[in-house]
Amino acid sequence: MNNVGPSLSRRMLLQGAGSVALIGLGFGAISFSAIPALAAANDKYPEDAFKQKSDADAIKALYGKTAEASDKVKLDAPEIAENGGVVPIAVATTLTDVTSIAFLASENPNALAAFYVIPEGTVPAVANRLKMAKTCNVIAIVEAGGKLYSATKEVKVTVGGCGG
């Protein structure tokens, strides 16, 4: 797989390591193998989270905690998706110490659509195109400073008719 360089120390952050001071100093990744790493803590594909049905279960599987709504998370999604197969959705945030961003669609067969790892030095903003099975809430989760923040928007999805 791909090397996630030495300055990446989310492992320590999420495992609630007391030695938080080491983060950002570019020291080698110290592995706290005694504490099981949650999927969000490394570059492993979060298979389990993608298998969950509800958004609550997916967030739990990804992060093991819940999110609080925050107006510092800016979710950009259409009112009515022109086509449920390609819905452009983007998120940006003014929060700092962002380590990951996740997108969920509450009524999709499996709520978790995408989960982005944001290494240090990467701007905490992502734009992507997602599938939505039907009208439902699109939820963006931003993991910052070890806590979860969310923004939600309902996107209407209609079945295409005769075409434009």
Partner: protein
């Protein structure tokens, strides 16, 4: 054989904006074909962006990402002329990668 990955990476000041479009069916496994058979899931699971040997962005995708997936993000520290390596793996074990220059 042309790569499935198309990239546009532009440096502006100390920030590089990256847009990628990848040719991939991203079949969810929920859609039936003309004969009524379910088309099995076939989708990119991980898409990685590396600059100077460091991962600057890692996308973990499920089948709810649209066909011919697109993603846009920005990172600090890239400069015009630098290499950006992009690679993906899918649920069938296939992969592809490409290296693009930051413009």
């Amino acid at each position: 054989m042309a790569s499935t990955i198309r990239v546009r990476a532009t440096a502006s000041g100390d920030t590089t904006e990256v847009q990628a479009l990848v040719q991939h069916p991203m079949d969810s496994g929920f859609v039936k074909d003309a004969q009524g058979q379910l088309i099995p899931p076939h989708f990119i699971q991980q898409l990685t962006f590396e600059h100077n040997g460091k991962t600057v962005f890692l996308a973990n995708w499920g089948p709810a990402v649209s066909k011919d997936p697109y993603v846009k993000f920005s990172f600090k520290g890239g400069a015009k002329g630098d290499d950006l390596k992009i690679s993906w793996t899918d649920n069938k074990g296939a992969n592809d990668s490409t290296t693009a220059k930051i413009g």
